[in-house]
Subunit: 462 residues, 2 copies
């Protein structure tokens, strides 16, 4: 290491030690011949002092230091004079008298102040994201993801969940949004799809007997972007065998309790209230009610249950799945699905937090005959079903266990935890609403040669 | 839960208890009127017994049970008669007398025996992967990944690494293999590239002051596939600031030690031997020597160091980077790079395990002027550099710290740990050498409407 300590760790116990720090030049104050500089890294800020007599040549060099220069200093830890203690930072009782200074790198003047909470255009912040992420709040938002993942994994490990990876280059999945496509060079004219979710694979894992699966999974939907959407997003995806809704509710409630306890020091009350879809619509005119006022809490969770199994697509004059075609109907409706599709309830459930749909899930159909009936009702003919989900239907013939699962949006949850208003604040390199990455400039044009190898060409603009 | 216990947990302490198990029907033996069946789940196997007098109707139903049916049984835990104890399994001292049986699902006759270690064509195993993964060895190979991830994360957390996510829909990266491309519907004629690695992003994180980054990252290279290659693979990707090679070596050696200690109960000796590239070539005629015989160990690690900075591309008559263009040259060669490119050593390093390149890394260039000189030597003109890596070069102007990193192939390491010969054995849903997924049938053709929306069309075959 080029340093002996980070900029966040020296304190009274280190007084008198000779140490080496590396970091970025922050605030600077010149008091006569004394130069005070805050040196900053991810771990904190330490005040360093250049004194002509002690710092020698370093004091001369220090004249030229500018904001965001990267420096390495050797120095001696000194107790701060009484009046100068800064109780707000862990290093606030000490300062470092610089004995030697090395400039590791210089910096142009940053596009915006790192240490001021200025209101800067988002596009500028994203273009210079490496400067933006030097700001404590921006960095904390991104580091919060690491903390959340750590909590989720530790919790699910305890409950015998196994983390499995599913492919990114795969086949179209049944969520019904538009797929991102990837032309296959080795199979010209054919395309992989990026997964809208690992839905089919997680069901395959259950048929494999894997019992409890989870994955913090990247999902991709080529939708017209809105404030709260990104072309790629991350979800906690899970599935369990030999369970009922109650098991999913119990696991998710305890997980949320663990997350809010560790990240917000708040004790969430469980079980969460359960509200039927019909009740939500009649009382709140939405299936995502914000119950914060009603329950007088900062974080109001609720399960929305008893969703209708089908919704009528007036344009195409047919029934379609309210959730997705693998969702099981309620036991009491199984015999009358065809006669009264409008009355059928499903075994799906949404988790709502502060008026936002955090995630959803369902108990799945594991019976091949029932699955065929559902496809028939929603107008997927056997040939089409075979083409789209044939491998899953085939798997169901070989001993599929009863199973169900859940998935929730990591980005949305992080947005609420960090108190931000946009999911872009919790994503390291988010895209704009036109799908552009202001940092890298993606997407971009490619060589004709590349397209040729892939067996595709651009269409002429109409 | 539909069960009270898993099939791997009942033992002598449970004798006399009434319990419920769920699982798959395995081996069956009929002894006169007694029917013995092994019921199986991810956690183990339990012997259940149907006795006419005690099991009643369940005994009648049991006649029709066939392999891989999914069943739920209620029963009473019974001590096995002395001669029938099976010391090889944790449940071997007990059996369960069935009191009630429910068939949760039936099964067609599987394509291959689940509990026999038969030699089955790989394509068949992958097509029926859900059956294949019911085999203990296949399941263990996939679960090993979870264990490895858990060890890696716990280790790196301790060393202050933060896990960050980088985009999958991004811009071409500098590894030099072919990119997978994703047409952008919102920006017709433009394409995202899937990352060959998060190389540029991890360097951006260092410029952001994030200090220590890691990610278990999906990488994508559109290469002609060989036995040990997959279109998508997983690597542990890491980067650190304010460090030298020694810090990387130390972290990686301790990490490997932790992995082999926990997963193989083997104590790996550290530090690993270091062999210069020149020495490896002269003594072993390869830069990936297999040192198992020499060191008399099952797992022989070595660092290969002092790689040449450049290699001469005879076809194009120009120098190119041996590692990648962001690799720093050795200090003593910095002043003579242009005169003697053939003599320049780089600060890159490979980690070799049992004759296989497990991973590689380097100390990076953090100085904009040195970076420009390297580009000039390898024939990347400023305009091209700007187009390909402009955002990273721009970032380097704003106080980039000295940094370096490492990445190693998770799939390769798992292959060695599990004692398998192919990386396909440690991937849940691998692709064949023509990039096909035998399970889902990906890639596949897509609707003309989809292509039209993306602004592309297929080329006519020549």
């Amino acid at each position: 290491m080029l340093r002996t300590h980070t900029c966040g760790e020296l304190n009274k116990n280190d007084i008198g030690k000779e140490i080496t720090l590396c970091g970025w030049v922050g605030k600077r104050r010149d008091h006569g011949k004394l130069i005070f500089i805050d040196i900053r890294d991810r771990y904190g800020i330490t005040q360093i002092v250049f004194i002509p007599k002690e710092s020698g040549q370093a004091h001369v060099l220090a004249q030229d230091l500018r904001n965001e220069f990267v420096i390495k200093i050797k120095g001696r830890v000194n107790e701060r004079p009484q009046g100068n203690v800064n109780a707000r930072i862990p290093t606030g009782e000490i300062e470092v008298i610089v004995l030697d200074l090395e400039v590791l790198n210089s910096s142009l003047t940053p596009q915006f102040e790192i240490e001021e909470a200025l209101d800067i255009a988002e596009e500028t912040r994203l273009k210079y994201r490496y400067l933006d992420l030097r700001r404590k709040k921006a960095a904390d938002n991104i580091i919060a993801r690491h903390t959340l993942y750590r909590i989720i994994r530790a919790f699910l490990d305890k409950f015998d969940f196994v983390e499995f990876e599913t492919p990114i280059l795969t086949k179209s999945t049944p969520e019904g949004a538009r797929d991102y496509l990837v032309p296959s060079r080795l199979n010209p004219g054919e395309f992989y799809a990026l997964p809208q979710s690992p839905q089919l694979f997680k069901q395959i894992f259950m048929v494999s007997g894997m019992d409890r699966y989870y994955q913090i999974a990247k999902c991709f939907r080529d939708e017209d972007l809105r404030a709260d959407r990104q072309p790629e997003f991350t979800q906690l995806d899970m599935e369990m065998s030999f369970i009922t809704e109650e098991d999913i509710y119990g696991i998710m409630e305890q997980l949320m309790q663990a997350v809010f306890r560790e990240m917000k020091e708040v004790e969430i009350a469980i079980p969460f209230p359960r509200i039927t879809y019909a009740e939500a619509q009649s009382r709140y005119s939405t299936d995502k009610p914000d119950l914060r006022k009603e329950f007088n809490t900062d974080f109001a969770f609720a399960w929305i249950v008893d969703f209708p199994m089908f919704k009528f697509n007036g344009e195409e004059e047919r029934w379609e799945s309210e959730h997705h075609p693998f969702t099981a109907p309620a036991e009491e409706n199984i015999n009358t699905l065809e006669e009264n599709p409008e009355k059928a309830k499903s075994r799906s459930y949404d988790l709502v937090l502060n008026g936002m749909e955090l995630g959803s899930g369902s108990i799945r159909i594991h019976n091949q005959e029932l699955q065929s009936r559902i496809f028939k009702i929603i107008g997927i003919d056997p040939e089409q079903a075979e083409k789209r989900f044939g491998f899953l239907l085939e798997a169901f013939r070989f001993g599929a266990p009863p199973h169900g699962g859940f998935a929730f949006g990591i980005d949305r949850l992080l947005t609420i935890i960090t108190g931000e208003s946009s999911i872009r604040e919790v994503i390291a390199f988010p895209k704009t609403s036109s799908g552009l990455c202001p940092l890298t400039g993606a997407p971009s044009d490619v060589d004709e040669k590349q397209l040729k190898e892939l067996g595709i060409q651009l269409r002429k603009r109409q």
